[in-house]
Amino acid sequence: MTWKHGILSAFVLVAAWQLLVIITGVPSFILPPPMKVAKAMWFYHALIAENAWVTTQEVLLGMIIGSVLGILTALHLATSRTARAILRPILVFSQAVPVFALAPILVLWFGYGIWSKIVMAVLIIYFPVTSAFFDGLMKTPAGYLDLAKTMGASRARTLWHIRFKSALPSLGSGLRLAAVYAPIGAVIGEWVGASKGLGYLMLLANGRVKIDLMFATLIVLAVLTVCLHLAVDILARKLAKDH
Protein backbone atom coordinates (compact mmCIF):
# COMPACT_ATOMS: atom_id res chain seq x y z
CA MET A 1 0.00 0.00 0.00
CA THR A 2 1.50 3.31 -1.05
CA TRP A 3 0.56 6.76 0.22
CA LYS A 4 -1.33 7.46 -3.00
CA HIS A 5 -3.47 4.38 -2.49
CA GLY A 6 -4.16 5.39 1.11
CA ILE A 7 -5.26 8.88 0.18
CA LEU A 8 -7.38 7.55 -2.67
CA SER A 9 -9.22 5.03 -0.50
CA ALA A 10 -9.78 7.66 2.23
CA PHE A 11 -11.28 9.94 -0.44
CA VAL A 12 -13.55 7.14 -1.72
CA LEU A 13 -14.68 6.39 1.82
CA VAL A 14 -15.57 10.02 2.57
CA ALA A 15 -17.40 10.36 -0.75
CA ALA A 16 -19.44 7.20 -0.05
CA TRP A 17 -20.24 8.50 3.42
CA GLN A 18 -21.46 11.84 2.04
CA LEU A 19 -23.48 10.05 -0.63
CA LEU A 20 -25.11 7.81 1.98
CA VAL A 21 -26.13 10.85 4.04
CA ILE A 22 -27.62 12.60 0.97
CA ILE A 23 -29.45 9.55 -0.40
CA THR A 24 -30.93 8.28 2.86
CA GLY A 25 -31.58 11.71 4.38
CA VAL A 26 -30.54 10.24 7.72
CA PRO A 27 -30.67 12.83 10.56
CA SER A 28 -27.27 14.09 11.66
CA PHE A 29 -27.69 12.75 15.23
CA ILE A 30 -27.62 9.26 13.67
CA LEU A 31 -24.96 9.81 11.01
CA PRO A 32 -23.49 13.31 10.72
CA PRO A 33 -22.13 14.30 7.27
CA PRO A 34 -18.33 14.41 6.84
CA MET A 35 -18.20 18.20 6.84
CA LYS A 36 -19.96 18.41 10.20
CA VAL A 37 -17.50 15.90 11.69
CA ALA A 38 -14.59 17.87 10.25
CA LYS A 39 -15.93 21.03 11.85
CA ALA A 40 -16.33 19.25 15.19
CA MET A 41 -12.77 18.00 14.88
CA TRP A 42 -11.55 21.56 14.38
CA PHE A 43 -13.75 23.05 17.10
CA TYR A 44 -12.80 20.45 19.71
CA HIS A 45 -9.23 19.91 18.56
CA ALA A 46 -7.71 20.82 21.94
CA LEU A 47 -10.07 18.50 23.80
CA ILE A 48 -9.48 15.65 21.32
CA ALA A 49 -5.72 16.15 21.35
CA GLU A 50 -5.57 16.07 25.14
CA ASN A 51 -7.54 12.83 25.30
CA ALA A 52 -5.70 11.33 22.31
CA TRP A 53 -2.41 11.90 24.12
CA VAL A 54 -3.68 9.93 27.12
CA THR A 55 -4.79 7.01 24.95
CA THR A 56 -1.50 7.11 23.02
CA GLN A 57 0.44 6.81 26.27
CA GLU A 58 -1.72 3.89 27.38
CA VAL A 59 -1.31 2.07 24.08
CA LEU A 60 2.44 2.66 23.78
CA LEU A 61 3.21 1.70 27.37
CA GLY A 62 0.92 -1.30 27.00
CA MET A 63 2.73 -2.31 23.80
CA ILE A 64 6.17 -1.96 25.36
CA ILE A 65 5.39 -3.70 28.66
CA GLY A 66 3.32 -6.43 27.00
CA SER A 67 5.98 -7.11 24.35
CA VAL A 68 8.82 -7.25 26.88
CA LEU A 69 6.84 -9.62 29.11
CA GLY A 70 5.87 -11.72 26.09
CA ILE A 71 9.47 -11.94 24.85
CA LEU A 72 10.76 -12.91 28.30
CA THR A 73 8.04 -15.52 28.75
CA ALA A 74 8.72 -17.03 25.32
CA LEU A 75 12.46 -17.22 26.06
CA HIS A 76 11.75 -18.85 29.39
CA LEU A 77 9.34 -21.36 27.82
CA ALA A 78 11.81 -22.17 25.04
CA THR A 79 14.69 -22.87 27.41
CA SER A 80 12.97 -24.69 30.25
CA ARG A 81 11.06 -27.92 29.95
CA THR A 82 9.63 -27.38 33.42
CA ALA A 83 8.34 -23.95 32.42
CA ARG A 84 6.69 -25.46 29.36
CA ALA A 85 5.00 -28.13 31.47
CA ILE A 86 3.70 -25.68 34.06
CA LEU A 87 3.22 -22.36 32.26
CA ARG A 88 1.77 -23.43 28.93
CA PRO A 89 -1.51 -24.85 30.29
CA ILE A 90 -1.91 -21.73 32.42
CA LEU A 91 -1.33 -19.53 29.39
CA VAL A 92 -3.87 -21.38 27.30
CA PHE A 93 -6.36 -21.39 30.16
CA SER A 94 -5.89 -17.65 30.64
CA GLN A 95 -7.06 -17.18 27.07
CA ALA A 96 -10.34 -18.89 27.93
CA VAL A 97 -11.17 -15.91 30.18
CA PRO A 98 -12.43 -13.06 27.99
CA VAL A 99 -10.11 -10.15 28.70
CA PHE A 100 -13.02 -7.73 28.18
CA ALA A 101 -14.79 -9.30 31.14
CA LEU A 102 -11.77 -8.46 33.28
CA ALA A 103 -11.99 -4.74 32.56
CA PRO A 104 -14.22 -3.86 35.54
CA ILE A 105 -11.95 -5.83 37.88
CA LEU A 106 -8.87 -4.12 36.49
CA VAL A 107 -10.43 -0.70 37.02
CA LEU A 108 -11.29 -1.75 40.56
CA TRP A 109 -7.72 -2.86 41.21
CA PHE A 110 -5.71 -0.29 39.29
CA GLY A 111 -8.02 2.72 39.48
CA TYR A 112 -9.48 5.23 37.04
CA GLY A 113 -6.07 6.43 35.83
CA ILE A 114 -4.03 5.15 32.92
CA TRP A 115 -2.68 2.06 34.69
CA SER A 116 -5.84 -0.02 34.48
CA LYS A 117 -5.88 0.65 30.71
CA ILE A 118 -2.20 -0.19 30.36
CA VAL A 119 -2.74 -3.46 32.20
CA MET A 120 -5.69 -4.16 29.92
CA ALA A 121 -3.55 -3.57 26.82
CA VAL A 122 -0.73 -5.67 28.29
CA LEU A 123 -3.10 -8.57 28.99
CA ILE A 124 -4.59 -8.47 25.53
CA ILE A 125 -1.27 -8.47 23.64
CA TYR A 126 0.74 -10.69 25.98
CA PHE A 127 -0.53 -13.97 24.55
CA PRO A 128 -0.13 -13.23 20.82
CA VAL A 129 3.43 -11.94 21.36
CA THR A 130 4.42 -14.86 23.61
CA SER A 131 2.84 -17.45 21.36
CA ALA A 132 4.29 -16.14 18.08
CA PHE A 133 7.82 -15.69 19.46
CA PHE A 134 7.77 -19.03 21.29
CA ASP A 135 6.76 -20.81 18.06
CA GLY A 136 9.67 -19.12 16.30
CA LEU A 137 12.12 -20.13 19.02
CA MET A 138 11.02 -23.77 18.80
CA LYS A 139 11.32 -23.87 15.01
CA THR A 140 15.07 -23.23 14.72
CA PRO A 141 16.35 -25.31 11.78
CA ALA A 142 17.86 -28.52 13.23
CA GLY A 143 21.00 -28.14 11.10
CA TYR A 144 21.89 -24.85 12.83
CA LEU A 145 21.68 -26.55 16.22
CA ASP A 146 23.80 -29.49 14.99
CA LEU A 147 26.43 -27.06 13.77
CA ALA A 148 26.40 -25.16 17.07
CA LYS A 149 26.78 -28.42 18.99
CA THR A 150 29.86 -29.56 17.02
CA MET A 151 31.32 -26.08 17.54
CA GLY A 152 31.07 -26.48 21.29
CA ALA A 153 28.53 -23.66 21.76
CA SER A 154 26.99 -23.08 25.17
CA ARG A 155 23.22 -23.20 25.55
CA ALA A 156 23.02 -19.51 26.33
CA ARG A 157 25.05 -18.48 23.27
CA THR A 158 23.12 -20.86 21.01
CA LEU A 159 19.94 -19.25 22.31
CA TRP A 160 21.19 -15.73 21.63
CA HIS A 161 23.16 -16.13 18.38
CA ILE A 162 20.95 -18.70 16.68
CA ARG A 163 17.53 -19.38 18.18
CA PHE A 164 16.74 -15.76 19.09
CA LYS A 165 17.97 -14.38 15.77
CA SER A 166 16.17 -16.94 13.65
CA ALA A 167 12.92 -16.33 15.59
CA LEU A 168 12.89 -12.56 14.98
CA PRO A 169 10.49 -12.72 11.99
CA SER A 170 8.02 -14.65 14.17
CA LEU A 171 8.36 -11.98 16.85
CA GLY A 172 7.54 -9.42 14.13
CA SER A 173 4.28 -11.28 13.34
CA GLY A 174 3.36 -11.25 17.02
CA LEU A 175 4.04 -7.53 17.29
CA ARG A 176 1.87 -6.84 14.23
CA LEU A 177 -1.04 -8.54 15.98
CA ALA A 178 -0.26 -6.65 19.18
CA ALA A 179 -0.45 -3.31 17.34
CA VAL A 180 -4.02 -4.14 16.33
CA TYR A 181 -5.10 -5.39 19.75
CA ALA A 182 -3.43 -2.88 22.07
CA PRO A 183 -5.71 0.10 21.18
CA ILE A 184 -8.77 -2.14 21.61
CA GLY A 185 -7.62 -3.02 25.11
CA ALA A 186 -6.98 0.59 26.07
CA VAL A 187 -10.32 1.86 24.73
CA ILE A 188 -12.32 -0.88 26.44
CA GLY A 189 -10.57 0.01 29.67
CA GLU A 190 -11.60 3.63 29.14
CA TRP A 191 -15.21 2.68 28.48
CA VAL A 192 -15.43 0.79 31.74
CA GLY A 193 -14.08 3.59 33.86
CA ALA A 194 -11.94 6.59 33.05
CA SER A 195 -11.82 10.35 33.27
CA LYS A 196 -9.56 10.81 30.22
CA GLY A 197 -8.83 9.19 26.88
CA LEU A 198 -10.52 8.77 23.50
CA GLY A 199 -12.79 5.96 24.73
CA TYR A 200 -13.92 8.18 27.59
CA LEU A 201 -14.48 11.11 25.20
CA MET A 202 -16.62 8.94 22.92
CA LEU A 203 -18.88 7.95 25.80
CA LEU A 204 -19.06 11.56 26.97
CA ALA A 205 -20.00 12.82 23.48
CA ASN A 206 -22.53 10.03 23.10
CA GLY A 207 -24.18 10.91 26.40
CA ARG A 208 -24.54 14.53 25.31
CA VAL A 209 -25.77 13.60 21.84
CA LYS A 210 -22.70 15.24 20.29
CA ILE A 211 -22.56 12.62 17.58
CA ASP A 212 -20.26 14.76 15.41
CA LEU A 213 -17.69 14.84 18.23
CA MET A 214 -18.12 11.10 18.71
CA PHE A 215 -17.32 10.48 15.05
CA ALA A 216 -14.40 12.91 15.15
CA THR A 217 -12.98 11.02 18.14
CA LEU A 218 -13.52 7.70 16.40
CA ILE A 219 -11.63 8.90 13.32
CA VAL A 220 -8.72 10.13 15.44
CA LEU A 221 -8.61 6.75 17.18
CA ALA A 222 -8.58 4.95 13.83
CA VAL A 223 -5.78 7.20 12.53
CA LEU A 224 -3.73 6.56 15.69
CA THR A 225 -4.20 2.80 15.27
CA VAL A 226 -3.16 2.96 11.64
CA CYS A 227 -0.03 4.97 12.56
CA LEU A 228 0.85 2.40 15.22
CA HIS A 229 0.31 -0.38 12.70
CA LEU A 230 2.59 1.32 10.15
CA ALA A 231 5.32 1.91 12.73
CA VAL A 232 5.20 -1.69 13.93
CA ASP A 233 5.16 -2.88 10.34
CA ILE A 234 8.43 -1.06 9.68
CA LEU A 235 9.91 -2.62 12.82
CA ALA A 236 8.65 -6.10 11.85
CA ARG A 237 10.22 -5.74 8.40
CA LYS A 238 13.52 -4.78 10.01
CA LEU A 239 13.33 -7.87 12.21
CA ALA A 240 12.65 -10.10 9.21
CA LYS A 241 15.35 -8.50 7.09
CA ASP A 242 17.90 -11.04 5.77
CA HIS A 243 15.76 -13.99 6.82
Binding site: D146, M151, A153, I162, K165
Partner: protein
Amino acid sequence: MKASLGIKLEGAASIDGLTLFAPIALDIRPNQWTCLLGPSGVGKSTVLRLIADLKTYVDFDGTITTSDGQPLTDRVAYMAQSDLLFPWLSVAENVSIGARLRGEKPDGKRVLDMVSRVGLSGHDTKKPAALSGGQRQRVALARTLMENRPVILLDEPFSALDAKTRAEMQELTFALLKERTVLLVTHDPAEAARLAHIGYIMQPQGLIPMEMPETPPVRPIDDPLTIACQTALFRVLRKGAA
Protein backbone atom coordinates in the same frame (compact mmCIF):
# COMPACT_ATOMS: atom_id res chain seq x y z
CA MET B 1 46.94 -28.49 13.93
CA LYS B 2 46.67 -31.23 16.53
CA ALA B 3 48.22 -34.69 16.30
CA SER B 4 46.75 -37.14 13.84
CA LEU B 5 43.71 -38.93 15.13
CA GLY B 6 42.02 -42.15 14.04
CA ILE B 7 38.52 -43.31 14.92
CA LYS B 8 36.97 -46.77 15.08
CA LEU B 9 33.24 -47.31 15.12
CA GLU B 10 32.00 -50.80 15.87
CA GLY B 11 28.41 -51.79 16.40
CA ALA B 12 24.91 -52.03 15.01
CA ALA B 13 21.95 -49.68 14.99
CA SER B 14 18.23 -50.30 15.19
CA ILE B 15 15.06 -48.23 15.25
CA ASP B 16 12.35 -49.59 17.57
CA GLY B 17 13.90 -53.06 17.39
CA LEU B 18 14.18 -53.06 13.58
CA THR B 19 17.74 -53.32 12.34
CA LEU B 20 18.97 -50.22 10.48
CA PHE B 21 22.42 -51.67 9.87
CA ALA B 22 24.00 -54.96 10.95
CA PRO B 23 27.19 -54.90 13.04
CA ILE B 24 29.88 -52.93 11.21
CA ALA B 25 33.49 -52.09 11.89
CA LEU B 26 34.41 -48.74 10.41
CA ASP B 27 38.06 -47.84 10.60
CA ILE B 28 38.72 -44.16 9.96
CA ARG B 29 42.47 -43.81 9.55
CA PRO B 30 44.41 -40.78 10.69
CA ASN B 31 45.00 -38.03 8.14
CA GLN B 32 43.20 -39.85 5.36
CA TRP B 33 39.91 -39.50 3.56
CA THR B 34 37.58 -42.36 4.42
CA CYS B 35 34.53 -42.54 2.23
CA LEU B 36 31.22 -44.14 3.15
CA LEU B 37 29.21 -44.75 -0.02
CA GLY B 38 25.67 -46.01 0.03
CA PRO B 39 22.09 -45.50 -1.09
CA SER B 40 19.77 -43.18 0.81
CA GLY B 41 18.28 -44.53 4.01
CA VAL B 42 21.01 -47.06 4.72
CA GLY B 43 22.20 -45.20 7.79
CA LYS B 44 25.43 -43.63 6.57
CA SER B 45 24.46 -40.19 7.88
CA THR B 46 23.55 -41.90 11.15
CA VAL B 47 27.09 -43.25 11.38
CA LEU B 48 28.44 -39.75 10.88
CA ARG B 49 26.04 -38.25 13.40
CA LEU B 50 26.98 -40.89 15.97
CA ILE B 51 30.63 -39.95 15.60
CA ALA B 52 29.75 -36.24 15.83
CA ASP B 53 27.66 -36.98 18.94
CA LEU B 54 24.61 -35.43 17.29
CA LYS B 55 21.04 -36.47 17.95
CA THR B 56 19.93 -39.62 16.10
CA TYR B 57 16.70 -41.55 16.23
CA VAL B 58 18.38 -44.95 16.46
CA ASP B 59 19.51 -47.23 19.24
CA PHE B 60 23.21 -47.71 18.73
CA ASP B 61 24.70 -50.81 20.27
CA GLY B 62 28.45 -50.52 20.01
CA THR B 63 31.49 -48.38 20.69
CA ILE B 64 33.27 -45.42 19.16
CA THR B 65 36.94 -45.28 20.09
CA THR B 66 39.72 -42.88 19.21
CA SER B 67 43.37 -43.72 18.61
CA ASP B 68 44.47 -41.59 21.58
CA GLY B 69 41.71 -42.77 23.90
CA GLN B 70 40.40 -39.23 24.46
CA PRO B 71 36.79 -38.27 23.74
CA LEU B 72 35.99 -36.62 20.42
CA THR B 73 34.23 -33.66 22.01
CA ASP B 74 35.40 -30.38 20.45
CA ARG B 75 37.68 -32.21 18.04
CA VAL B 76 35.32 -32.59 15.07
CA ALA B 77 34.08 -30.11 12.50
CA TYR B 78 30.89 -30.79 10.57
CA MET B 79 29.85 -29.86 7.07
CA ALA B 80 26.44 -30.82 5.72
CA GLN B 81 24.62 -30.86 2.39
CA SER B 82 22.94 -27.62 3.35
CA ASP B 83 25.54 -24.89 3.84
CA LEU B 84 23.92 -23.87 7.16
CA LEU B 85 24.97 -20.25 6.72
CA PHE B 86 23.13 -17.74 8.87
CA PRO B 87 21.40 -15.37 6.45
CA TRP B 88 21.57 -12.45 8.88
CA LEU B 89 25.36 -12.64 9.18
CA SER B 90 27.96 -11.52 6.65
CA VAL B 91 30.39 -13.98 5.06
CA ALA B 92 33.13 -13.06 7.56
CA GLU B 93 30.73 -13.28 10.51
CA ASN B 94 29.54 -16.69 9.32
CA VAL B 95 33.12 -17.93 9.04
CA SER B 96 33.87 -16.81 12.61
CA ILE B 97 30.56 -17.88 14.18
CA GLY B 98 32.22 -20.78 16.03
CA ALA B 99 34.39 -18.44 18.08
CA ARG B 100 31.43 -16.27 19.00
CA LEU B 101 29.34 -19.32 19.93
CA ARG B 102 32.10 -20.29 22.36
CA GLY B 103 32.42 -16.75 23.73
CA GLU B 104 35.86 -16.23 22.21
CA LYS B 105 37.02 -13.20 20.31
CA PRO B 106 37.15 -14.00 16.58
CA ASP B 107 40.55 -13.61 14.97
CA GLY B 108 39.71 -11.14 12.21
CA LYS B 109 42.94 -11.66 10.30
CA ARG B 110 42.53 -15.43 10.25
CA VAL B 111 38.93 -15.04 9.10
CA LEU B 112 40.03 -12.99 6.09
CA ASP B 113 42.79 -15.51 5.41
CA MET B 114 40.25 -18.38 5.36
CA VAL B 115 37.90 -16.39 3.14
CA SER B 116 40.74 -15.83 0.68
CA ARG B 117 41.84 -19.49 0.82
CA VAL B 118 38.43 -20.56 -0.48
CA GLY B 119 38.73 -17.92 -3.21
CA LEU B 120 36.20 -15.42 -1.90
CA SER B 121 38.45 -12.42 -1.19
CA GLY B 122 36.44 -9.24 -1.34
CA HIS B 123 33.19 -11.03 -0.55
CA ASP B 124 33.66 -10.94 3.22
CA THR B 125 31.08 -8.23 3.94
CA LYS B 126 28.39 -9.73 1.69
CA LYS B 127 25.37 -11.54 3.02
CA PRO B 128 24.89 -15.20 1.98
CA ALA B 129 21.82 -14.25 -0.08
CA ALA B 130 24.13 -12.34 -2.45
CA LEU B 131 26.17 -15.49 -3.20
CA SER B 132 25.67 -18.44 -5.53
CA GLY B 133 25.19 -21.98 -4.22
CA GLY B 134 28.82 -22.84 -4.93
CA GLN B 135 30.08 -19.69 -3.22
CA ARG B 136 27.92 -20.40 -0.19
CA GLN B 137 29.38 -23.88 0.13
CA ARG B 138 32.84 -22.28 -0.07
CA VAL B 139 31.93 -20.09 2.88
CA ALA B 140 30.85 -23.22 4.74
CA LEU B 141 34.25 -24.72 3.91
CA ALA B 142 36.03 -21.61 5.20
CA ARG B 143 33.98 -21.88 8.40
CA THR B 144 35.03 -25.54 8.73
CA LEU B 145 38.70 -24.60 8.22
CA MET B 146 38.36 -21.81 10.76
CA GLU B 147 37.41 -24.38 13.40
CA ASN B 148 40.78 -26.06 12.82
CA ARG B 149 39.69 -29.47 14.10
CA PRO B 150 41.68 -32.68 13.48
CA VAL B 151 38.58 -34.63 12.39
CA ILE B 152 36.27 -33.41 9.65
CA LEU B 153 32.87 -34.99 9.05
CA LEU B 154 31.41 -34.31 5.61
CA ASP B 155 27.77 -35.28 5.10
CA GLU B 156 27.18 -35.08 1.33
CA PRO B 157 28.48 -31.51 1.21
CA PHE B 158 28.61 -31.40 -2.59
CA SER B 159 25.35 -33.11 -3.53
CA ALA B 160 23.34 -29.91 -3.97
CA LEU B 161 25.84 -28.36 -6.40
CA ASP B 162 25.82 -28.44 -10.19
CA ALA B 163 28.33 -30.76 -11.89
CA LYS B 164 30.98 -28.15 -12.66
CA THR B 165 30.82 -26.47 -9.25
CA ARG B 166 30.79 -29.87 -7.56
CA ALA B 167 34.02 -30.95 -9.29
CA GLU B 168 35.68 -27.65 -8.33
CA MET B 169 34.49 -27.88 -4.73
CA GLN B 170 35.72 -31.47 -4.44
CA GLU B 171 39.19 -30.38 -5.55
CA LEU B 172 39.28 -27.32 -3.34
CA THR B 173 37.97 -29.16 -0.28
CA PHE B 174 40.43 -31.99 -0.73
CA ALA B 175 43.34 -29.59 -1.17
CA LEU B 176 42.46 -27.66 1.98
CA LEU B 177 41.64 -30.71 4.13
CA LYS B 178 44.39 -32.99 2.84
CA GLU B 179 46.14 -33.54 6.14
CA ARG B 180 43.04 -34.13 8.24
CA THR B 181 41.16 -37.20 9.30
CA VAL B 182 38.10 -36.98 7.09
CA LEU B 183 34.92 -39.04 6.92
CA LEU B 184 32.99 -38.33 3.73
CA VAL B 185 29.47 -39.67 3.44
CA THR B 186 28.14 -39.73 -0.11
CA HIS B 187 25.71 -41.51 -2.43
CA ASP B 188 27.73 -40.63 -5.53
CA PRO B 189 30.14 -43.34 -6.81
CA ALA B 190 31.99 -40.73 -8.90
CA GLU B 191 32.67 -38.66 -5.80
CA ALA B 192 33.94 -41.66 -3.85
CA ALA B 193 36.15 -42.71 -6.79
CA ARG B 194 37.76 -39.26 -6.86
CA LEU B 195 38.23 -38.53 -3.19
CA ALA B 196 38.63 -41.68 -1.10
CA HIS B 197 41.91 -43.04 0.26
CA ILE B 198 39.84 -45.79 1.82
CA GLY B 199 36.31 -46.57 0.84
CA TYR B 200 33.39 -48.60 2.09
CA ILE B 201 30.06 -49.35 0.53
CA MET B 202 27.39 -49.39 3.19
CA GLN B 203 24.47 -51.78 2.98
CA PRO B 204 21.93 -52.97 5.56
CA GLN B 205 23.97 -56.19 5.84
CA GLY B 206 27.13 -54.29 6.67
CA LEU B 207 30.17 -52.66 5.11
CA ILE B 208 31.88 -53.83 1.92
CA PRO B 209 35.46 -52.56 1.61
CA MET B 210 36.02 -50.93 -1.77
CA GLU B 211 39.04 -51.34 -3.93
CA MET B 212 40.42 -47.90 -4.65
CA PRO B 213 42.91 -46.99 -7.41
CA GLU B 214 46.59 -46.86 -6.53
CA THR B 215 46.79 -43.19 -7.45
CA PRO B 216 46.33 -40.74 -4.60
CA PRO B 217 43.26 -38.56 -4.42
CA VAL B 218 42.08 -36.15 -5.60
CA ARG B 219 41.88 -38.19 -8.79
CA PRO B 220 41.16 -36.57 -12.14
CA ILE B 221 37.53 -36.98 -13.08
CA ASP B 222 38.37 -38.32 -16.56
CA ASP B 223 41.23 -40.64 -15.57
CA PRO B 224 40.58 -44.22 -16.77
CA LEU B 225 41.37 -45.55 -13.29
CA THR B 226 38.85 -43.19 -11.71
CA ILE B 227 36.20 -44.11 -14.24
CA ALA B 228 36.88 -47.84 -13.81
CA CYS B 229 36.61 -47.47 -10.04
CA GLN B 230 33.43 -45.47 -10.36
CA THR B 231 31.91 -48.17 -12.60
CA ALA B 232 32.93 -50.92 -10.17
CA LEU B 233 31.40 -49.03 -7.25
CA PHE B 234 28.24 -48.46 -9.17
CA ARG B 235 27.94 -52.19 -9.92
CA VAL B 236 28.25 -53.10 -6.24
CA LEU B 237 25.70 -50.42 -5.36
CA ARG B 238 23.22 -51.79 -7.90
CA LYS B 239 23.73 -55.38 -6.82
CA GLY B 240 23.30 -54.44 -3.19
CA ALA B 241 20.00 -52.83 -3.93
CA ALA B 242 18.65 -55.85 -5.84
